[in-house]
Symmetry: C2
Subunit: 457 residues, 2 copies
């Protein structure tokens, strides 16, 4: 079947000519750290390739840094360096500002000043947008500026583009994802190498996947930032970070990871934005996912997001959740988009949060306690207790159905037996009642460990 | 953490006002079958939601069908029906034509006429574009028209958008995917239900996943059409369907599926476009994929595409590969894109095949025989033969390394023993020599079955 066939590309003289006369996009870069440095590096390495796609060069003309001497070694001689970011955002010869300094105070101020100065903005700063996005998008809208932020959610994965453009036909039912690479790395280590949480976290820190102060990641806050952005793009609701129910992974024990696997599940920190009959649920928490689900196979620091729409059904997007060049990939894609669409009337551009401003509307929020889940329950029992006498009447009183149960007589070196229960889906109050009644039984050691099961179907 | 917080959406009076005055996009639909009917249905059901995103209504104004009476029942009264598609594409009151009649003869003629008449075109017809894309894009370029085709590859998955826009920063190293739902369904049935090829194919036909004349799917031609489109978007090479090495799945036996699983692999029909040191390889063939790879877990009629770029690393995209509303999801996303970007100068729009026309260039093609693979070899032996005496010297002479071997003394009800070999990666000529020498050994029954292993790393 193979033929050494050389086809001719299609060429049209007028397209050729007009493509070559487009002036470069003039970019100002705030910060030359991980994201800024990666963006500079990829833009330089792939300059011609990117221009071949974009139809014009994407040129970093000016960079604001703290240490001018260090930066001078990193960038080419024709790049203007400044240690005054306020000067950079006022430069009338720049079209677009890339915010890559992080944080939510100076970054916010500089982004707002950029917009006021008539610059488009590209950022991968999820905290900034989750907390101040409404203000930032509003100012940008008023000034006719674009604010692009593909790198803010699941970094390399063009999930914002998929939601805003690829799935425009769909009523989105839910979005669910592994959107924090640090916690997924920690949970993967606990699973594949049998490490406990603290050791796995230290390993993540050693490898650079976790900060020395890891609370933003480990406690689910970073994932909640991203989830707020995903939810607005999915449902046309305002950014509502403070409506996200957030639980981190500190309470996940290694043996729960092991027991979950035994039962055919993986434990993942999930962010879920779900449309229910009574409103929207926004939640970040560790959950059991059946191993038949693709998300259960997302390992290490990788990210993945599933979207369920009424027309497309289930789609999934997978890629790296962090990294210098990985983030650069998203930032540069945003720059190319900006270079293309800055010529459009603002109302013809892709809306900031997928929906036209006039169409965005709040929807009722549903508390997590009002959503039915299946649960994983772990009951530690005194040695010698065979199962849990009297479980059947407790289940009946609490109105909870069991799907599966398993008694482990000798789980490793522990001094007790362990009863694992998987419940059918039911109201949280019933599970609460069941757990309370189990904890009052003789032979039960300590509190019952519980974790939600996300079905994602 | 949950709060019943109601945030205000950002509104700006001028944006609101301008959003409401945009006229609807006027669409002409060629055909009201699976794709056309699905598109009409989703556009009607989600009309307001889509307008809320697009900033204007997407209105099907005219439909060309064979059976006017049947169509009159399906569409609203304000839609103009015609049984003359040539009249439709000439209608001066239409902005864009959706080609959903299929095939490559009349469809081609109508698409070319639409372009000549100054209409943008949306199609999900991969055969049309793989065979006539160069001509179609060239005409569209000359006339300043868009031709959008997200639904042509892996239907619901916005993979064309990901390649053309999401990954613009990247030098793409390879693209690999399960891009034919029919064959993936057949292989999944052979795997999970132990069916032989013929029975699995009948099951696929019974469920509507396979045509009654299934050769396009089963023999890999459909996947090759899609691969040609993916390769051009990845590498900036012209469409070269006839450079794709194509093997279908007819030769895959159920026991090979079973043996592969035993060795830790799944057999999938893969389309691969790969940049090598000596040029581009385009290939469609059944391959073993390690079960640690996400693609190995893509079941049933689902599709998935992996892209490896130098900045982003590995990303993957997963979704349904067929279906009426699934295809509609892609077609409507294209319509919204067209509605947004028809106001742009052509040179600012996303290029047809990701790269500016002036930047597209042929690259050398590499024959499959010149690429090193690891192989799965199945050697059927006379009963009573213990292993293969003299294998070691054959391996040495052919210069092939073994990674794994397993002798199955009693594989089910067969009358022979089976030797399974996994080789290290090596030149095809060495494998050819090994296979020939094995087949000449006493005790070897029939030809050695061989299949490539795709590592995808």
């Amino acid at each position: 079947m193979y033929q050494n066939h050389i086809a001719k590309p299609f060429n049209h003289p007028s397209a050729l000519a007009s493509a070559t006369i487009q002036p470069p996009l003039r970019v100002g870069l705030l910060g030359l750290g991980t994201v800024g440095g990666g963006t500079y590096r990829v833009l330089r390495r792939n300059a011609q390739l990117i221009a071949d796609r974009a139809g014009r060069h994407i040129k970093i003309c000016m960079v604001a840094v703290r240490d001018l001497e260090r930066a001078a070694v990193l960038v080419d001689g024709d790049v203007v360096l400044t240690d005054d970011p306020f000067q950079l955002v006022q430069n009338p010869n720049l079209d677009v500002i890339v915010e890559s300094i992080g944080g939510t105070t100076i970054a916010r101020e500089l982004v707002m000043l950029s917009i006021a100065a008539g610059k488009h903005v590209v950022t991968a700063n999820k905290a900034l947008l989750a907390l101040h996005g409404t203000e930032i998008f509003s100012a940008a809208c008023a000034n006719g500026m674009m604010v692009a932020y593909e790198g803010a959610v699941a970094v390399t994965i063009p999930i914002i583009k998929a939601l805003r453009e690829g799935l425009t036909a769909n009523r989105v039912n839910w979005v669910a994802g592994i959107i924090n690479g640090t916690t997924n790395f920690v949970l993967s280590e606990m699973d594949s190498n049998g490490l406990d949480f603290d050791t796995a976290l230290k390993e993540a820190q050693r490898k650079g996947y976790a900060e020395q102060a890891p609370t933003f990641d480990v406690d689910g806050i970073d994932a909640a930032h991203k989830l707020a952005l995903l939810a607005s793009n999915a449902f046309g609701i305002p950014l509502q970070f403070d409506c996200v129910h957030v639980e981190g992974i500190r309470a996940v024990e290694q043996r729960d990871v092991e027991f979950a696997k035994r039962l055919g599940f993986s434990i993942k920190l999930l962010g879920v934005a779900q449309r229910t009959a009574r409103g929207i649920s926004l939640r970040v928490h560790p959950a059991l996912i059946a191993s038949s689900n693709l998300l259960a196979h997302v390992e290490g620091s990788m990210n993945a997001v599933m979207v369920h729409g009424d027309a497309a059904g289930l789609t999934m997007y997978y890629g790296a959740g962090a990294g210098a060049e990985q983030t650069a990939s998203a930032v540069i894609a945003d720059l190319v988009d900006v270079s293309r669409f800055m010529g459009l009337a603002p109302q013809n551009r892709v809306p900031y949060l997928a929906f036209q401003e006039s169409a965005m509307a709040s929807q009722p929020m549903v508390a997590l306690a009002d959503i039915c889940f299946s649960y994983y329950l772990r009951v530690d029992l005194c040695r010698g207790t065979h199962g849990l006498d009297g479980l059947a009447p407790l289940l009946e009183v609490a109105d909870v159905q069991l799907v599966q149960s398993e008694l482990l007589e000798n789980p490793g070196t522990s001094e007790y037996a362990t009863l694992l229960l998987l419940t059918a889906s039911g109201p949280q109050q019933n599970i609460d009642a069941l757990v309370t009644s189990i904890e009052q039984q003789a032979g039960v050691l300590g509190p019952v460990k519980r974790m939600r099961i996300e079905c994602l179907d």
